[in-house]
């Protein structure tokens, strides 16, 4: 055999391994405690109820849903969500579950922000939408595993109808008409659904063959057809005549998008005054003003392309207006 390590060296090795083990265990314990401490229970006094228009956001510092006052004050007391939206009597909270692989919960909340239904899904929360009536919900998850071959993440978009309780976990199989023909392809991906007032018509993004399209869909008929190319994350205006969306305007991965508003009747597009690359599904605060998350804050700006963006809520994302 070879020259054996001396007994002293072996003892030193054992001691060092023991010390390192204690260090690792100690750090882990502390991290676990830290995690336990930062998981507060939701504050029962924060609800969707109230008078007038109220803006809810996700507070970045705490990860909890908060009510943002017009004067910049904030009441943080809602549930912990990674993505949030609310309308009418319903709120939707997408919550990432810790660990690998990436998984999440879609949690349906009532007007008192009490949990009604919880759905476990793979992926990373990305978009959340509640129809104006609060009866139809949709959300999108990034599916990390598919990202090996392409640079883009693939997505899974679900639609939940609270009237029937029916859940479409992945809407990919919806019959799609593209440029007048029925389109079949394995690489079809949907994301960013927005609902019309009738709780039946909806708009969404579909991507296939490396291009994105704005599609108009019909829930009851379960069909979708592409309206125009290069439009992502649509958001329908309250009067149902215009769609705000993000359009890919550059191949620069640092600033690929710009926000536009499309007039559905005339088909005319109008870029917003905000020239920055916004990656969010826009919220219509009212018929004239848009809100969206960008760089850690929620911004607002006129929908007609005039004016300039202003900060609506610092350190926040996922704006939702409840009336």
């Amino acid at each position: 055999m070879t020259r054996r390590p001396t007994r002293t060296r072996l003892w030193a090795l054992a001691l060092a391994v023991l010390l390192l083990g204690c260090g690792a265990a100690g750090y882990t314990l502390r991290a676990a405690q830290r995690a336990g401490a930062s998981r507060p229970s939701a504050d029962a006094s924060l609800t969707l109820d109230g008078t007038g228009e109220r803006l809810f956001v996700r507070d970045t510092a705490t990860g909890r849903v908060a009510l943002a006052g017009r004067d910049g004050t904030r009441r943080t007391g809602g549930p912990v969500c990674d993505r949030f939206h609310a309308a009418g009597p319903t709120a939707l909270c997408l919550q990432r579950r810790p660990g690998v692989p990436a998984r999440a919960y879609a949690i349906v909340l009532d007007r008192r922000l009490h949990e009604v239904r919880r759905i476990a899904l793979p992926g990373i929360p990305n978009r959340a939408r509640v129809s104006a009536s609060g009866r139809v919900l949709s959300w999108t998850m990034f599916a990390t595993g598919d990202s090996y071959a392409t640079s883009a993440f693939s997505t899974r978009t679900s639609i939940l109808d609270l009237r029937t309780g029916y859940l479409v976990k992945d809407m990919e199989q919806i019959p799609l008409t593209l440029e007048g023909r029925r389109h079949h392809a394995p690489d079809v991906n949907y994301w960013g659904v927005t609902f019309a007032r009738d709780d039946n018509r909806f708009y969404a993004t579909v991507s296939t063959d490396g291009r994105t399209y704005l599609v108009e869909g019909d829930l009851r008929a379960w069909s979708a057809r592409a309206l125009r190319a290069n439009a992502e994350c649509p958001s329908l205006s309250p009067d149902g005549t215009r769609i705000a969306f993000k359009k890919k305007v550059s191949d620069d991965p640092k600033s690929p998008w710009r926000l536009y508003v499309l007039d559905l009747r005339s088909g005319r597009e109008q870029p917003l005054a905000d020239r920055r690359s916004i990656d969010d599904q826009v919220l219509w605060l009212d018929g004239r003003t848009l809100a969206y998350g960008h760089a850690g804050d929620v911004w607002a700006g006129p929908a007609d392309g005039s004016g300039a963006p202003r900060v609506l809520a610092r350190g926040a994302s996922s704006p939702a207006m409840v009336r």
Binding site: M1, T2, R3, P5, R9, L10, A12, L13, A16, V17, L20, G21, G23, A24, Y27, T28, A31, A32, R34, A35, G36, R39, R96, P98, G99, V100, P101, A102, R103, P122, G123, I124, A143, T144, G145, D146, S147, Y148, A149, S151, A152, F153, R156, P186, P253
Partner: protein, 429 residues
């Protein structure tokens, strides 16, 4: 993917090696690799999530960084091999590589989100990995008798794979226990990595005595088969046998499409839930783990050339299975492809080193092994890029048919090119 670097298991050295055990050096190096792989695969498993979710880096940016550093590793290997040979201190060079990778976890922790800091930490990790691989494999060849090289590499790779399998599990458990405290994963990974370095320092014979190890059994360095190179040959490429080995490695590497694509094809075919996707590589790794030692022993008995070629035939069969039209025996096919992938790694990864080792003079061994690994890595990089392009242009089916043809041709050429290792071929074990 990282399967090739994955792998180790088989803690007790005696499972089948009743008559002859692998040397203490090999076991010690296997233990070091096991512990180090736990450390590095922990981070590998969580890093994409950490970067993309925790820090908001785009997948595009992450993919770019990852590809860049992986490419760079191939070249750093040559540096590591050269340093180990020139100073005659492979252990010291390998130890530096292990230490550098371990410390890169602290870099990740301290960078706390700054993109440049993270890029630097990633670079340090890959640098360490590149530097240590060739000297470590040279230490294995120097610490083993020439006719036991296949088994020695088999044991080492099996231990290595064990670590790679345990790493993601450990990371998963940590994230679960701490509710996504990535910093805890980095700290634990650092501690485990340091244990690996300490194991190397204490258990692996120091450089001065390395030669004595081999000499104790048989002077490994002086025996080499099929070589037409004089014993004093300074230049590696002067050996025709080594040149042919390099050419065969390059050809075969250039016809290997990359595991990620295989997994992706399987995932699409069976529409596997995304949550199961990360388990596919584990399936292949488990087979690799089980077969690494038997494949190594077989290589020692019948010569290393044939198992190496059979391994590539297994891969060829795996590609062919992927082409079986839909509606075939579903899950069987999935299991078959993963098993064949495992067989491929078991029969080629360590065996290639065992094939190359005896062709190299002792003083140039680390450099020579590094050259083989670099050629293989670069060829595979090119193959993956080419396959990705073919997939984009013509779709996965056509790309796979092309890959199948290329691999068949490469195996055919390699059959003629590969030098037979006269030393062990036909020698009864």
């Amino acid at each position: 993917m990282y399967l090739a670097t994955t792998g180790r298991r088989d803690a007790p050295p005696t499972p089948s090696g009743v008559r002859r055990r692998v040397s203490g050096t090999v076991l010690a190096l296997g233990a070091v690799s096991l512990v180090t792989d736990v450390s590095s695969e922990m981070v590998t498993a969580v890093l994409p999530l950490y970067l993309v979710l925790g820090l908001g880096l785009s997948p595009l940016q992450f993919g770019f960084l990852d590809g860049l550093f992986n490419g760079a590793t191939a070249l750093v290997r040559m540096l590591g091999g050269h340093l180990a040979d020139r100073g005659g201190r492979p252990k010291r060079v390998a130890g530096f590589g292990y230490a550098l990778s371990a410390c890169s976890r602290l870099g990740l922790l301290l960078a706390s989100g700054a993109a440049t800091g993270i890029a630097a930490a990633l670079a340090a990790d890959r640098l360490g990995k590149g530097i240590r691989t060739a000297p470590r494999d040279a230490l294995i060849t120097l610490g083993s008798p020439p006719d036991g090289l296949g088994r020695a590499f088999g044991v080492h790779r099996a231990m290595d794979t064990t670590g790679a399998l345990l790493g993601p599990l450990a990371a998963f458990a940590l994230l679960w226990a701490t509710a996504d405290a990535y910093d805890a994963v980095f700290v634990v990974s650092f501690c485990v990595g340091l244990v690996g370095v300490l194991l190397l320092v204490v258990l692996v014979p120091s450089d001065g005595s390395t030669t004595a190890v081999g000499a104790g059994v048989r002077p490994a360095a002086r025996v080499r088969g099929g070589s037409d190179r004089g014993p004093g040959g300074r230049h590696l490429l002067r050996s025709a046998a080594f040149r042919r080995l390099l050419a065969a490695t390059a050809l075969l590497g250039a016809a290997t499409v990359g595991d990620a694509f295989v997994y992706l094809l399987l995932q699409r075919r069976y529409d596997l839930a995304v949550a199961w996707f990360p388990l596919l590589p584990l399936g292949a790794a488990a087979v690799y783990l089980l077969l690494a030692v038997p494949a190594g022993r077989l290589a020692d008995r019948i010569g290393r050339r044939r198992p190496f070629l059979y391994g590539h035939l297994a891969l060829l069969l795996g590609y062919a299975l992927l082409l079986v039209p839909d509606g075939g025996p579903g899950p069987l096919l999935l299991v078959g492809v993963l098993a064949l992938l495992g067989v491929f790694y078991a029969a080629t990864d360590g065996v290639l080193m065992a094939l190359a080792g005896p062709l190299l003079p002792e003083g140039r061994r680390a450099t020579g092994l590094a050259a083989v690994q670099t050629v293989q890595a670069l060829a595979r990089l090119g193959a993956a890029t080419g396959f990705g392009a073919a997939w984009t242009l013509w779709g996965p089916g056509t790309a796979l048919v092309l890959a199948l043809g290329a691999l068949a041709a490469a195996v055919g050429c390699a059959w003629r090119l590969l030098p037979s290792d006269a030393l062990t071929e036909g020698t009864p074990s």
